[in-house]
């Protein structure tokens, strides 16, 4: 992990980059020895691209978070890893639920190569949280059925929100929708 000073230097370097700009990195966070950069959602591709040039060439994980009741609610985290220095840094961004659209980092683009490993993971975040990834090659549900409605990992999605058919109530079942 970069230490607190290293993280500030990294943030400074990102902010001074043309494609990212001074308002591209919103905040730095050093917590329990783990470094995180909070970035503007529309700058995610240049940020990851610049960090790749700095040695963070392996995208270990992408995961979604729902920050209910805080706004903007939905978060997407990218865990980057520098294998030669054994150094990790997390890049985090937040988007609101009424316009949850960010650029996909999966495909190659004019701003540099993509991260093919993000393919399934972005699909999972779309499935579970409803974040839409602009430019993703195949943005479909991955774990839930294709005709499923709603995004079950959101915090306001109830547990057990779906009726279950048992033998004792199968005759009372209204229609046979499911």
């Amino acid at each position: 992990m970069p230490d607190a000073t290293g993280l500030e230097l990294l943030a400074h370097e990102l902010r001074s980059s043309q494609a990212i700009g001074a308002d591209g990195v919103l905040e730095t966070l050093h917590f329990r020895g783990k470094a995180a950069l909070i970035v503007a959602p529309e700058r995610i591709r240049p940020v990851l691209g610049t960090l790749r040039e700095r040695g963070y060439t392996f995208l270990a994980s992408v995961h979604g978070v729902d920050y209910l009741p805080h706004e903007p609610r939905l978060g997407v985290h990218y865990e980057l890893l520098d294998m030669s220095r054994v150094d990790r840094v997390a890049v985090k961004l937040r988007v609101p639920t009424d316009a949850p659209v960010i650029d996909s980092v999966t495909p190659d683009g004019p701003d540099g190569p993509g991260w093919p490993t993000a393919d399934h993971q972005e699909r999972e975040i779309y499935d579970m949280f409803g974040v839409r990834f602009r430019g993703h090659p195949d943005l479909r549900r991955i774990l839930m059925p294709e005709d499923y409605e709603g995004h079950p990992q959101r915090r306001d999605f109830p547990v057990g929100g779906e009726p279950i058919k048992f033998t004792f109530n199968e005759h009372d079942w209204q229609g046979d929708a499911r």
């Binding site: 020895g33 270990a60 579970m128 839930m144």
Partner: protein, 417 residues
Amino acid sequence: MNATGVSEYRRREESITLSAMGKPHPDGSHDELLTLNFGPHHPATHGVLRLLVNLQGEVVRSIKPIIGYVHTGIEKTAEDKAYWKVIPVVERMDYASYYFNATAYCCAVETLAEVEVPKRAQYLRVIHLELNRIASHLLWLGTSALDLGAISMFWYCFREREQILDLFEMSSGQRMHTRYIQVGGVIEDIPRGFEEKVRAFTSVMPGRADQYNALLHSNEIVLARLRGTCAVDADTLLSLGVTGPLLRAAGNPWDLRKADPYSSYEDFQFKIPVGTVGDNYDRFAVRVAEMYESVKIIEQAIEGLPEGPHITTDRKVALPPRHELATSMEALIHHFKLVTEGFRVPPGEVYFPIESPRGELGCFVRSDGSSKPARVHMRDPSFVNLQALSAMAEGSYIADLIATLAMLDPILGGIDR
């Protein structure tokens, strides 16, 4: 055997010419693509994986995996439970490596709550993790050999796996999903006689692994189906996020136990087996070689097992010992608070990766300050590694697809969660 030392089988095999391949058939049928639905209920998919395979003749042109058949919403369930009650549900994700799931989760929570894990507990974790790694590799070896037609391997592998499950039963009372790893340590110290039983196992296991090698490494059919098939280089694997034995088979010695040691792995001497070209044979050989290394780690951990508590003495996160409940009011209060509400964890977010039998198993935990996690996410290696299947098997024969899927070692419980 003839005079040149080449077996009759090999000579005949090499005499077959493939020059007619790739040439169009007179009626044009050669170029026709056949879409084959493979799974979800098929013994070679190692679970409920469904693949849509486009075939040109017998050659695989594209693969589309369809998953989610055993999605049970474990991450959602975890948000509804106190921190220590999440352990049994996350164990059920990757059902072949339950100790790893629990360790990744507990280490993440320990980092959040700043809990110190006693040295003895770390060693006990290592012993069980490595036993679990061998059990997981044995399950893989048995079922993969079955896919290649070597049926007897299955019985031999399950014989040793049974020994490991007996050890788990001895230390925790359960054979699978043991709930042995706790936040702050392990649930109980090992019982009397456990060390001898582990030593008996570690003395017998290398010999058994030699036998597996003898059965498979001199089996011409197995070698023909594994050698040189579906090789992928390390750079492609890295861009696809592949870790673990699959990456090491391609020659990249990345192993979190060495690179970024957790749970006292820095105390042990062991080697990281690597392959050279990253074909199916290397994937097979790396995993078999890892079993020997795991045995070495277990032997060292049993030998150097330090004295001391098996779980943290911080009463805020770990249950007090039973005898204290009869005499100490404070212990009773702690016990009551832990059982009813659980412990509270300071707000924050932590991603904790460990090396599972299939690669980097990372657990992301977000705490909002309450006694239940606000988000638990497992970066399961099977889920990420599955993306490499297309890169591996496209352009090869459908029979090699079966072998590649076996060598990929996906666990569908971990993929779907």
